[in-house]
């Protein structure tokens, strides 16, 4: 179980996150929303010890993440960042196999084991990338590449997934598909996920809990219905919104109301 306790992150003198606490339960998806500069990505980075906490702590199973070895931590927490920056030709298969690094015993020279391949096989199937496994990553479309990034994170078999704006470059069809994959992973294997996103409606649909941040601080935390209120959203984003219920799913639906300057 992943927990942040009174977490404060500073870059020099600038405070990115101030005294934030959250607890991630197995099987749940938490969405972190907030305006730009709210500290969402910094929070995410601190959760897997990419960024050091200036104060407070991040605990995995009651042990500070700083005490885990890199390899150990990567087996438990995986990150899905935005598209990879590719400078060398690499196939989808090789790329996804990279996720098994943390499991290699003789890590350095280590050749892939049977188990590695089984896991990757499964994951490629889940993310519908089997057909593309021998194609080069830079030949794929944006959506397919993002699926590959997710596939790699899933290949680590980590119990916690951290996703930083995973749907930013995806079209409508793929956005939902990706989050459904995350959802099913959490449901079937009691994994949990923290998703930073700008898409509030998507967050409402897939997240168990939503955390609303502004300027490094936690403004609200709770079920979508509790957090996604016009008042709170106005406070965070400075935008007037209309909140109703999605006609099909019933989750909160957020529609911003803009002032038209004509």
């Amino acid at each position: 179980m992943l927990e942040a306790r009174n977490l404060t992150i500073k870059y020099g003198l600038r405070v990115a996150v101030a005294g934030l606490s959250l607890k991630l339960q197995p099987g749940e998806i938490i969405a972190i929303i907030g305006p730009n500069g709210a500290g969402k990505s910094s929070l995410l980075r601190a959760l897997n010890a990419s960024v050091q906490a200036a104060a407070g702590d991040v605990l995995l199973d009651d042990r500070s993440v700083a005490t885990y070895s890199r390899r150990n931590l990567s087996r438990r927490i995986a990150v899905v960042a935005q598209e990879a920056d590719l400078r060398f030709p690499i196939t989808v298969l090789e790329f996804v196999l990279g996720g098994r690094y943390a499991w290699s015993s003789n890590s350095a020279w280590g050749w892939e084991t049977v188990r590695d391949l089984e896991v990757v096989q499964q994951v490629l199937h889940e993310t519908e990338l089997e057909e593309l496994s021998h194609r080069f990553l830079n030949e794929l479309s944006g959506g397919e590449r993002q699926r590959a990034v997710l596939a790699r994170a899933l290949a680590t078999e980590a119990g916690v997934l951290l996703l930083d704006e995973p749907t930013a470059n995806l079209d409508l069809a793929h956005q939902a598909a990706l989050l459904m994959l995350v959802r099913s992973r959490c449901d079937t294997r009691a994994a949990s996920a923290v998703v930073v996103t700008h898409d509030i409606n998507l967050a409402a649909e897939f997240a168990n809990r939503i955390i609303l941040m502004k300027e490094g601080r936690l403004i609200a935390s709770g079920a979508p219905e509790e957090v996604l209120t016009p008042l709170l959203l106005r406070e965070a984003f400075g935008v007037t919104v209309l909140v109703d219920a999605h006609p099909v799913t019933g989750v909160p639906r957020i529609t911003p109301v803009h002032e038209m300057l004509r």
Partner: protein
């Protein structure tokens, strides 16, 4: 243990072979090794002095058995001058190619190469200092060269580190600055000081594989083997680092540690090469790319294959350097540049 995994998925059975990568590496390296040995053998027969072919082959195969009928001075030419030089060429080629491949992976830059980044020149300055201050001690040269190379690496890396990390543009800029600065230092020092003690600047800037003692040769070969082994052991980490330091970190690579180990190993490789034979350019640039084009970017294959291919490349280049205008000699770096530059242009057009 079954080496294949076949998972039944609805509609399709896809087979992945665990041994596939390993097998490819093994075959590729075996072929390259055989090619290298053949080329070493073949080039032993070539040189500014004609040696009787049959007797020479016999001597090579039996390692100097006198019954082969090779005259003593031909024997001396073969075993004291030619063969050591060829072996040195192979070590230098292997070292520079393996180092180049590692820099490219670590710095995520296809142009990263010991010469272009100023690391070779750093090693040269180190060696020159050793020649001036520790003239008698042979070990001081590769050691000071190592420090020079490492220092140059750290300077270039620091210079290239911007807020967004080490971008290709910044890296090349930093490399150009350091290379040209150190080249000037080399020219300055060699002009001021007595050339017979510290060699001329054509030696440093264009390389020269003649004139090594057997102890320097042994050191270079040992460093080449050791350094390449260390790099190969870190190859899988380099695979991940090639995709970005952040990604690698997230996936469990101890980025800082791997970076340091690779820089140190590569500095040993570059240092020992430059200390014994000056800067031989283009090897670390062209050979890894050719290898990647044919065998893919997996560093577990690329690094050992590049080492072997680099050895072949420099052995051939040096053979040309010492035979085309015989009995005069050309600096080997001139040949590697003449061959390497067009090759590189070709690679650029293929899109590296």
């Amino acid at each position: 243990m079954t080496s294949t995994a076949a998972v039944k998925a609805p509609g399709r059975v896809v087979t992945l072979d665990a041994r596939l990568t390993f097998r490819r590496m093994f075959i590729a390296c075996l072929l390259l090794l055989v090619a290298l040995l053949l080329i070493i053998f073949g080039t032993s027969l070539l040189g500014s002095e004609q040696l009787p072919t049959r007797a020479t082959i016999c001597a090579l195969v039996t390692y100097g058995d006198h019954s082969c009928g090779l005259r003593p001075d031909h024997e001396a030419i073969l075993f004291d001058i030619r063969l050591p030089r060829i072996i040195l060429a192979a070590s230098v080629g292997a070292s520079l190619a393996a180092a180049g491949a590692s820099y490219q992976a670590l710095l995520r830059n296809p142009l990263a190469e010991p010469y272009l980044l100023g690391i070779s020149n750093g090693a040269a300055v180190g060696t020159m200092l050793a020649l001036v201050y520790f003239a008698g001690n042979e070990w001081s040269r590769p050691m000071m060269a190592f420090f020079g190379a490492l220092l140059a690496t750290l300077v270039v890396y620091r210079l290239a580190l911007g807020r967004a990390g080490v971008t290709p543009e910044r890296l090349i800029l930093a490399g150009v600055i350091v290379t040209t600065f150190l080249s000037s230092v080399i020219v300055f020092v060699t002009t001021l000081m007595d050339a017979t003690r510290i060699r001329s600047f054509t030696f440093w800037l264009l390389g020269d594989l003649s004139g090594t003692t057997s102890s320097m040769l042994a050191i270079t070969v040992a460093f080449a083997l050791l350094g390449t082994a260390v790099l190969v052991v870190n190859a899988r980490s380099l695979n991940l680092l090639m995709l970005g330091e952040r990604d690698a970190f997230d996936l469990g690579v101890e980025v800082g540690r791997v970076r340091l180990v690779v820089f140190i190993a590569a500095s040993f490789l570059v240092g020992s090469s430059v200390a014994s034979s000056g800067s031989v350019g283009y090897v670390g640039l062209v050979v890894p790319h050719l290898v990647r084009l044919s065998l893919g970017s997996d560093n577990r294959i690329t690094i050992p294959a590049a080492a072997l291919a680099g050895a072949i490349f420099v052995v051939v280049a040096d053979t040309l350097a010492r035979t085309v205008i015989a009995p005069r000699e050309l600096p080997v770096g001139a040949i590697t540049a003449l061959v390497g530059a067009p090759l590189f242009i070709y690679l650029l057009r293929r899109g590296i």
